[in-house]
Amino acid sequence: MSLVLEQQVALVAAALLAAATLVRVWAFAAGRSGDRPTFALLMAAVAVLGAMIAGRWIREGQGPFLTMYDVLLSNAFSLGLLFLLVSWRLPVVRSASLVACPVLAVLGIWMLVVPSEGVPLPPTFDNYWLWVHVGAGKLFLGVCLASMSAAALLLLRQRAADSRRMAMARDPEELSRAVWLLFFLAFVFHSFMLVAGAVWAHSAWGRYWSWDPLETWTLATWLLLGFILHARATFKGMPENLGYSLVIASFVLAFLTFFGVPLINNAPHKGVM
């Protein structure tokens, strides 16, 4: 796939994600389910993003690990795919697409405005542990997105005056259980991402931890996740809403770490150049 073609296909992917969002929001406003068209559009978007990654990979001879565009493209794909997988295994989470779709659409549209030219990977990136590290990070963020979306839906549900509209989050208890199940799973993946990243850093640069901005913010995110799980176990009577708000806060922090820190620092890790 040539770069020009890839840029055109990127427009299609972003349009599909935006369409999924519009359909979902419209269905919500109309008090309808909207599941089938939303998920059909989402699946199509993920398939197109997957094809873009494959085409790019073959053309550049390297995976999407480096530039901001790489990060946005690969995460739009992995987050979309994981949301689909989670919705398939935990059907109660499907309603949370009301929150997940706009996040995916933001990534898709953002991807259109950053330079898409490939940059050759530094030699230290060619390492087995990089794959494990990046893979664990994608699993973390995908599962965290699903958890956050469900938490946000539960918060919305309590605010919504129109109960008919919110009937979509029909079983709040089960949805709440899904929030915490996914949040815990996100914590497991995040922990593994940290360890795999340290192994990679050690084999690539001889140092397992160098307090670069990405590492520091990732540690802060991990501590926040642990803090939230702990707070829930410590204060058994903690208001549910506070718990959901904290889940949203940790996704926001993770999102800023994944997409904000590389934006400011140009390269995913300072040790690279």
Binding site: G31, R32, S33, D35, R89, L90, P91, V92, R94, S95, V119, P120, P122, P123, T124, D126, N127, R164, R165, A167, M168, R170, D171, E174, R177, A178, W180, L181, F184, L185, F187, V188, S191, F192, V195, A198, V199, H202, S203, A204, W205, G206, R207, Y208, W211, P213, E215, T216, W217, L219, A220, L223, L224, G226, F227, H230, A231, A233, T234, M273
Partner: protein, 339 residues
């Protein structure tokens, strides 16, 4: 005694410790206001808190996964402490043809209990080359060193981006920091000669200022600037940095004014002696690190993650699976949402 341990095991203390660790890490890493050494305070607090909880908290007796995770975590904390006490981080610039000497090391950090023996390290830096893509994008580094054994024999060892070299726990990794070095001779009034090298700034990072200051053995400060006839750097094509074979000249300045231009093999008279430009070579910058407990830290961290996985499987998953089955029975098409 047990009362004190129970108090120390307070879960509220854990929350405080976590916040403290996050704050010290963020402030320490992003500003100079706090030294990162202070992360040790929340880590010690959390370790004592955790050890006390492992001894006294009932949750750990019934939830094996949780226990394994926290024991793993405690081990990681302990190993971080041991690493801080024993680790060594330094840098060394090795000239082509030069043998390693511990006195050349620039030490960044040496733990108070560091027990590594640098004096046993013997190797000689040989040639290396570094590939660049158009736009000066660094690619592969390939190099050779000769490791010298006790009997004085030499063994070739390749150095590359994925291939460092380890001596008694010290890991040498070639870095992006490398450049040219002028090999100079000094002949004093009596005719006695000595040789040494002046390393020029990192190349191609500082290609526009291949200059360095040096003081002659007679105490005269001079400034030496390298002028390559054909600089290897190309911005719009691929090129390779390797030991220069083309012509070059050295501009010698004293007190801000140029006092001569010296070609290879030639010399210039200076107060107290004669400066000879003998050779032009490359130097390679290595990071030198010593982390004796790192493999154990990895094992402890993986143990902790295994514990989390067990906890997920035994505590979270069963609840969710039971409930999901019930929902699917209720609506076989899986279309469970919707008014």
């Amino acid at each position: 005694m047990m009362g004190l341990v129970r108090k120390l095991a307070s879960l509220k203390l854990t929350l405080i410790g976590m916040v403290a660790l996050a704050v010290v890490s963020l402030v320490g890493a992003r500003t100079d206001a706090v030294d990162l050494v202070w992360t040790i305070v929340p880590l010690v607090l959390l370790s004592m808190n955790l050890a006390a909880a492992i001894l006294t908290n009932r949750s750990f007796r019934t939830q094996t996964g949780l226990l394994v995770f926290h024991v793993g975590l405690l081990l990681v904390f302990a190993l971080i402490g041991l690493t801080v006490a024993t680790r060594f981080n330094g840098r060394v610039e090795m000239l082509q043809g030069e043998a390693f000497d511990p006195s050349m090391l620039e030490v960044d950090y040496r733990g108070p209990l560091h027990g590594g023996d640098l004096s046993a390290i013997r190797f000689v830096q040989r040639d290396f080359e570094v590939d660049y893509l158009p736009g000066i994008v660094r690619q592969e580094t390939r190099g050779v060193i000769d490791i010298v054994d006790d009997a004085g024999g030499q063994r070739r060892h390749m150095i590359g981006d994925k291939q460092g070299v380890e001596f008694g726990g010290f890991r040498f990794v070639a870095t992006a920091n490398k450049g040219f070095a002028l090999v100079l001779g000094w002949e004093d009034a009596s005719g006695a000669r000595q040789f040494g090298a002046v390393h020029l700034p990192s190349y191609p990072k500082h290609d526009w200022k291949q200059v360095n200051d040096w003081t002659t053995p007679a105490g005269q400060p001079v400034r030496l600037e390298l002028e390559l006839e054909e600089p290897p750097i190309v911005t719009d094509a691929a090129w390779t940095l390797r030991r220069p074979t083309g012509g070059y000249r050295v501009h010698v300045q004293a007190a801000g004014a140029e006092i001569g231009v010296v070609s290879p093999g030639e010399s210039i008279e200076l107060p107290g002696g004669r400066l000879i430009v003998a050779d032009l070579r490359l130097w390679m910058g290595y990071s030198v690190d010593y982390y004796p407990f790192l493999p154990w830290m990895f094992v402890a961290a993986m143990l902790a993650i295994g514990g989390l996985a067990i906890h997920f499987g035994t505590r979270y998953l069963p609840q969710a699976e039971r409930k999901t089955e019930a929902v699917i029975q209720e609506a076989p098409d899986g279309h469970v949402i919707g008014a």
